[in-house]
Amino acid sequence: MIRRLLSVTIVAAVMLTAGVVGRATALDEDRAEAIAELRSLAQSIRTAEMRTDHLGGSIAIAEKDTAARAAVLEVRPAFVDEIAALTAAIEGAVGKVDTSAHRASAQSAQQSVLDERKNPATVVAATATVHALIDKVGQDIGSWETAQYAAPSGPAWASSGPDGYARVRAALDQVGGGAVGLYESASCAGGTAPACANSGGFIKYRADIVDWSADRLNWAMAHELAHIYQFRVWGALTSSDAYYSAFGGDAEFLANCMAVVRGYPGSVGCDADQQAWASGIWVGAVG
């Protein structure tokens, strides 16, 4: 009886122990699983939070960029308006003054505006530059017009009339003297010369030359324009040995040769060496 009871008790104790151990193992396994999951979640959270930081930084940078670009764009219409005004001024200057330098400056300003992304002051400065260029073109046109139509004193024409004046003016423009003042005068060599140039930078013509043929008129204006260019280098010219050896110190002969170089030959020709030397005077170089 006691032995049976003991056996039953031992079996019961073994089963109970097995049950307790099994439960403990199962609980431990569950816990280990939960901790592993927690680790992987912690990793994910770290990644997500790093991304949050990264996004926050990117947004701050992007907001700064947007604000800077908006500021640049805000002052841009004023610049475009000035460019439009300058374009009009340059178009108005065609045939009067050389605007290539103004255009180049404006293009440089345009490029700096196109490249600017942050600082509106750059665009404002470029706008001011273009505005100054417009003023400059206007002034240049003004001085050209003054040189065109105003004689040192008195009217530009007398007996030759406006049409006659226009014909001589067109010839002078044709040969490259667009910026040189012109007026009618019978004072050239006391009236014996049909035209002359003075060292003040003006060309005078006698009324009768308005009836000359176009070729002769062009030659005459090229010849007088040559004198204007001679005056600009007068000191160097008169102290040049070549001037005396090649042209005999004759300004008229040199002027004829310079007209030949420009493509307006008159009755007097000159050889290739003389032409080469004479062409230098047109660009201010005395050989």
Binding site: V20, A24, L27, A34, G56, T66, R69, E116
Partner: protein, 81 residues
């Protein structure tokens, strides 16, 4: 003598049972704690993802704005050729 043995055995049995019960309770508590931590972590991750999504949308909107501004900035209409 036998009585003493029975009492001692009974006490040992009781002590062992209490020990086992306490150990079991500790395991159960630890598991519950770990699971609670998992739930909490999941909530935190969810929240972080929502925030990221919102920020990503904001960033996309800003980048679109920048692209539009870039188009305007590189526009050369009205400029000198």
């Amino acid at each position: 003598m036998r009585g003493v043995a029975v009492v001692a055995g009974g006490l040992l049995l009781l002590g062992g049972t209490v020990l086992i019960a306490v150990a079991d309770q500790q395991r159960v508590d630890a598991l519950a704690e770990a699971r609670a931590a998992v739930v909490q972590a999941e909530e935190r991750l969810e929240l972080a993802r929502e925030v990221n999504l919102r920020l990503a949308e904001q960033l996309t909107a800003l980048r679109t704005t920048i692209a539009e501004q870039e188009t305007l900035l590189t526009d050369t209409s009205g400029f000198l050729p």
